[in-house]
């Protein structure tokens, strides 16, 4: 048992998966939960919480670990509410996709005797809510932590051991660098996928039925990305604005160069460009993040996702 009592604030995909994983591994004695919606609380009570409270302040009382698993935009308000009720020596972490904004919103409300260690599991599915969790979600996925210079090494080691016991590969990263890396590998790809799905939705001459019917040809991966939780993604773009706009600007430039090559019929440019991208793909397969199976791994064991 790593933490005798864990409080989950917010009871969606990540929190419910943590509950299932902690229970499966015998990693905690008691799981206490809180969510804003009464319906969510009822589901959590039935499926994965030992106890569910009507307020966040009540839920964190005497908890050894508090996990903030609400949308990034809601972190500050929750932190202000629970701050005075945290047990001295407790660890507080979060699972937000953006880290600087969470640090700015949460840290001011943390008492000196509490260890605040921001975190971000690179795991997820296109489903959300308290019924969507499952114990193996974090198996072999990255879980990034962004401790500061003053973070207590023992508290960090203990949190790390919990995450590793749930199957995650834990890495420390600088807060600002986290937000830039995630803008490149996750936030901007999501913005682009949402946009392409939006374009298809607006076409008059191509019916939505046709788009859906023939979606296997590349488009399907975009819809998969674009089906994620709208509130979570709204908050990601509002709170990681600077890095996202930087990368989006570069993307637009790059796209215009490609568009111009298509318009000019510059086959040499296109061929050279498309050849370069294969190297990155090869690197991903070699890094073991994906499979080389000809069906793109869809028949292979679950690979990393998020």
């Amino acid at each position: 048992m790593i933490y005798p009592r864990v409080a989950l604030i917010g009871l969606g995909l990540i929190a419910s998966s943590m509950a299932h994983a902690m229970r499966a591994g015998g990693l905690t004695g008691e799981i206490v939960g809180y969510a804003r919606s009464a319906e969510t609380r009822a589901v959590a009570r039935e499926l994965f919480c030992d106890r569910v409270c009507d307020t966040a302040a009540e839920a964190v009382r005497d908890a050894d670990l508090v996990v903030l698993a609400v949308p990034v935009g809601a972190m500050g308000e929750i932190a202000a509410e629970i701050g005075p009720h945290l047990k001295p020596g407790a660890t507080v972490t979060d699972v937000g996709s953006v880290k600087q904004a969470v640090v700015d919103a949460v840290a001011p409300h943390m008492p000196a005797a509490v260890h605040f260690i921001p975190g971000h599991p690179l795991a997820g599915t296109e489903y959300s809510g308290p019924r969507s969790g499952f114990a193996t979600l974090f198996q072999n996925r990255w879980w990034l932590l962004t401790p500061s210079a003053g973070t207590d090494p023992e508290a960090l080691a203990r949190l790390r051991s919990l995450l590793e016991a749930m199957g995650a590969n834990v890495e420390d990263m600088d807060v600002a660098h986290h937000d830039l890396v995630l803008a490149v590998v996750s936030h901007v790809p999501h913005a682009i996928a949402y946009t392409m799905v939006g374009v298809a939705d607006h076409m008059r001459r191509v019916s939505q039925q046709e788009v859906i019917k023939y979606s296997a040809s590349g488009f399907r991966d975009f819809t998969r990305i674009a089906a994620s939780d709208p509130v979570m993604w709204r908050d990601v773009f509002l709170t990681n604005k600077e890095a996202v706009l930087d990368i989006l600007g570069r993307f637009a430039e790059e796209l215009f160069v490609l568009q111009r090559a298509i318009r000019m019929g510059d086959g040499e440019h296109l061929h050279a460009y498309f050849t370069r991208t294969r190297a990155i793909r090869r690197g991903i397969i070699e890094a073991g993040q994906d499979t080389a199976a000809p069906d793109f791994g869809r028949s292979a064991p679950p690979a990393k996702e998020g």
Copy 2:
């Protein structure tokens, strides 16, 4: 046996998969092949062709079905070469991802006694070449045919029965409409994926190693798309220029609206936009083109791809 003799011109992923599938189903008596590269011809001779010829003209002699499986940009030259050597009554089809350009390039070289029926299997992997084929590639995938008003119904029915015997779902479609639909569901998503991979490649502050390491978060699907055959995709963009530029223009507009909402911090706009895209995703799952499994179907049986 549907065609006593089939000639495959071009021996890459699609042609080699057809050979494996036709052999597995006993759908033809003899498979004759031709490819420009001597190395490819040697592999085909060893793996899936009964006979391999040194010229396309020789390969099509007495063939009942000729499949043009070369990049779209090479179709015209091949058609000119084989035209005079085609058997009267033979059917010629192709597997190009663009149809108007193929019709323009090939039709003028077809003798009156030959049935030319353009086609496009929506199937593929990120691999290419004569070693990449497998018999089940077309199982439960779409194979679009674009016959004209004058196409012989018997020849069309015979070709359709071959494709269905290889496991494909065959649909007829108008040539121009095909090119627009494919621009939306395949060509532009590929252009975008290539571009995003290019952006990541150029970043200085985010190492390529980091991009690869954390690619699971959305970016991986882009690299998967962007790893396809460079020659094939160069030709797609050169030959479906009009539809691709139309859709790319709409995409850029749409992206700028999203970018502006992010810059302005317009959370309401973002939330409403991200909510709409979920409906298309639900439609795709309901249409049976994908799975609702929480691991995105990566552990489920192969789904449609292309």
